[in-house]
Amino acid sequence: MGATASVPDTIDVDEITFNTGKWRLSKRQISSLWTRFYELDRDGRGDAKGYKGYLDAVDLGRVPKFNQNPIAKRLIKVIFDDFGSNGKLTFRQFVDFMSTFAQRERGSHNQRRRSSAQTITSTTKTDLESIRYCPNDTARTRKIKFIFRMYDVDHDGRLSKEDVQEILKMMVGQISDEEASIIAEKVVGEFTERQTNSTVSLENFESTLHTLDFNDKMGLKLLK
């Protein structure tokens, strides 16, 4: 009646550890993630016997704490668009996704100091390109891009008033279009110096979060 088997041989743990690159997770963390993946993966009837080999939106929705989160649907969409394929999340993709958010452990102080000095310098990239994930992004950059994409509902690389409106409606549920529109305008306006009908780019967004210790706030403990 074990919690799980150990990570099955079909999944090469060493390969995964190598390929998550700079954010390499330890073997223990990957095992811990595997336990979680196995727990969440169930077939249509909710039985643990039906191991599909991937996670879908229903699996995530089964977690009560996740399901009651107001932006659960948006979070699912972004996760599956960014990291999954065809609405499915394999274990490799799951690890890839989680490695973005794994908390840095000891020895990370230097890294934090260094990365906070970095800002996203967009040179000649278009907006859409700038929000895509690059292999040489730092952890911080990746997290910022993820949050930006959470807000960017119409996926055009800029945060417009409509985007913020959509998010607000999702988070509050019962709110009138008018009220949402007013708040959204105000919020966007703060970042574009009151120019009407303008939008927020990734750089602007990043600068608002500059003062926060972003890594800490968005770092998750992966070992149980």
Partner: protein, 484 residues
Amino acid sequence: MLQVKRFNRLYHYWSSWSLKQRVTFAVQLFAILGILCLPVISIAALVLTLAVLNMTLGIRRFYVKVLTFLFDYATKIKKDKEIAIEADFVSMGPSTPHSELHFADSSIDSAIELSPLDAMKKEDDAAQSSRISRASSQSDIQFRFSDILDYTRQGLEAIVDDEVTKRFTSADEMAVWNLLTRTQQQHELFSLRVTILWFLGFLIRYFILFPFRLCLFFLAMFWMMGAILFLKYLPISKGKLRFGFYINIVLHRILSRVFSAIITFHNTEHRAKCGSICVANHTSPIDVIILSTDNGFSMIGQKHGGFFGLVQRSLSQTANHIWFERSETKDRHMVAEKMREHIKNPTNLPILIFPEGTCINNTSVMMFKKGCFEIDEAPIYPVAIKYDNRFGDAFWNSSKHQLVQYLILMMTSWAIVVDVYYLPPMRIQPNELSTDFARRVKAAIAKQGGFVDLEWDGGLKRSLPKADFREEEQRKFYEMLKTE
């Protein structure tokens, strides 16, 4: 042709013997069989005697001590090996200044705690207040970009780990490995000594312990059949119920030996009395057996057909149980009525109920269904059942194993070590709702057993959570926006 000839010859031989010779031969045959079976018969007699007299030879406790020593030894070997391998692994990879190298010492397990959200929120407020400081003239709702951060983080945290999902699978890996490959997550048998130990353990468990336990199981069945026959032909009298009570207890004591259960009862002065209701947390079907070794209970449940129905009917000979037709179970009122009737009779045994409704993995207690707490004529005797996972995991994951599979797994574990805590009786207070009373009892059980007290419904094992919770969160968020 040859066989028939041989048989004819034997027959002729046999008929040529005199009576005396035949009798001598038969006696000799039985004597030899008897001597061969002597160990089995004597052990069976021994177990029966011990069960009846409620004594124990202390063999099981000694056995458990030996096992503990063995497990510690095996874990030590494993840890030493693990450190060696982690060190290799770490030195193999490319060294980059940004990668966090894990040093394989015990501090790996103590991951650095996340800073509490409140502290971050304060910083956040201070930083942001300079930006969005003016209260709008049109509405006084403040919304910041970073609001979504908290919810995102909570959402991600829920994906990684949440309080409910992990209660429906067996508990996490233990510090000490108990030589059962079914439990360990990383049991790569890279040490020869550990492999040998595990293999020996496997042989002992499957080829020595299991057949022995199976024999005990048959002994229990014989006992039950004999007892049922005995009771059937006994005239109904007061004595019959007393007999039934003791027969029940002896039966369950034998059954507990089938699983090599080592049970420690605490606070036996609070044992449930006749005319009361006993509630306990539910981890496995074996709970019933364990509780019944010390006290007789009336079961309550649905009438089944087939083999289980037969079991139900035979159990009904020993005591008054409450069995329902399938159609009646939906009618809560009728159930409560039957229970009340049962309680009124002072010779009836206490009713045993598991209010969680499903098996939970013994790390937490989930929501108690309020049905049995509405009956205010009877006191409630709570019981906390705590299993020690080191010798065998008793949790029945019904979506993973069938019942028979589960029982076989139980019979091939090392042992089931259990602590049963009787708690003082509780009664519903005059102005208390049954849901509050249920919560109070649950909290008492959780506290005694060291369980996490959760308000979630055990039914979430199978069904999806309801949408109401999300609406509640949305409303809360809106309120929060308004008050800022």
